[in-house]
Amino acid sequence: MDEVLARPKAAAGTMLPILDIRQVDKRFAFGAETITALSDATLRIEKGEFVCLIGPSGCGKSTLLRMVAGFEAVSSGALLMWGKPVSGPGPDRGMVFQDYGLFPWLTVSQNIAFGPVARGRPKAEAAATARRFVEMVGLQRFADAYPHQLSGGMKQRVAIARVLANDAEVVLMDEPFGALDAMTRERLQEELLEIWAKARLSIIFVTHAIEEAILLADRVVVMSPGPGRIIADERISLPRPRDPTGVEFNALRRHLSRLLGSHH
């Protein structure tokens, strides 16, 4: 309740957050033991925000993301999207996995058209959508290639395009660039920011790289393990494009690594 009082605008009902996570716990049964993966997580995300979740492994950042996706149920607390409880996976929340999760038997275009086709859109419309998003991620030459013929960076572009083609409002990204080489990662980070700005997306981006978080996010949510919980929520107001060699950038980096370090 304090939460609501602290935000008079929300209480007045004028600004419903796109995601409202309230005192969420996640416990897993592990044999006879119960393990608390996430404890008392509270987070409000506004439409259009780019939020990075950062923390060491075991801090519950992926668990939180998977609960928002609807792959895992909350053990207690409430997880609301536009005020309604999340009860399972759905096309309004698109997930981009670190290991891509593309359908190997479908071409690039077919992978991108998968969502619209699955939701019963007419064939011609789905194909037109696929064409538009193939173009957006710059894979025209590979439209008819199969995933095993693509590089990691191209696969991740397909994975991003397929959730956007499916009208996702929230894009959930679980260390999406973690398996890519440095140059490809930098390029995809830039492209992601462009797409995010153009499509007015809300993004939750899990990473363990401090620099990546500062480079991308409006807000960096810092988490710590044992049990996983949120320890800080920092707003990054540096203008974009951000310069990782800049003084303010470095100050933020120091600040965040101190936050992370003090909880190890």
């Binding site: 996706a69 609807g70 792959f71 399972g88 996976p89 759905g90 096309p91 929340r93 698109g94 997930m95 996995f97 290991d99 999760g101 593309l102 359908f103 190997p104 038997w105 479908l106 071409t107 998968f114 969502g115 699955a118 939701r119 199969y146 995933p147 095993h148 397929r162 959730v163 499916n166």
Partner: protein, 266 residues
Amino acid sequence: MTALAARAAASRQALLAVAAPVLGLAAWHMATSGPGYHLIPPPWDVAVQWWDLAFGGVWDDLYSATLGTHAMASLGRVYGGFALAALVALPLGMLIGRIPVVRDLLDPSLQILRPIPVTAWLPLAMIVFGIGPRSAFFLVFLGAFYPILLNTVFGVRSVEGRLFEAAAMLGVGRQAVFWKVVLPASLPSIFTGLRLGLGFAWVVIVVGEMTGVQTGLGAIIMEARQLSRTEIVISGMVTIGVLGFLSDRAVQLLGQRLLRWSPQHG
């Protein structure tokens, strides 16, 4: 690789593939031709016999120009038994792979039946189906059944969990997930099962045709053995080898078309 180098590599491969059979034939010829009596006929005699068996005009005896009839009879049983096996094993394998109750119900029994060699079923098959082509058909069915079933179960069960999550977040419902994810993802395994099943069908057909069957490649091999016409026995063996090879190639080509997306098949 340049086109020239590719062609050189291809012809080298073809040369190596032919080398072993040529050496084998030469060894066979050296061991069986020349003066003295040999239990095994030399390759040339077999070639003449095969020609007569296929087209007639050499010996013009009871066997001349009958190869087509026998081959057609065997082919019918192989593909008939194989098709029936696929028709039963594919849906059954999908049910066992996807529905735990079905798995718990059937899997233990199937695991006990599986190690029994197909040939051990022959006496029982002859009692149930009578001595004759129907028993042969049953054996082919059984021989093809297990590889198809086991590979289908394996394929359906080993679909990557990530793909189910991807489909769910893109809006695929519980019912559609089978057609949209499970079936295409398990196609490579299913295909391997079909290929193995067809191979087994060719192995088993000869055994099935060896007792009480009038036509079929197994039947003439058995009959020729009793008459000590070893050239015919070997001609029958060669024919089975060639037909089995061709049918496997056909399946393989089909697989390459259907599974272009799979790095293991395409």
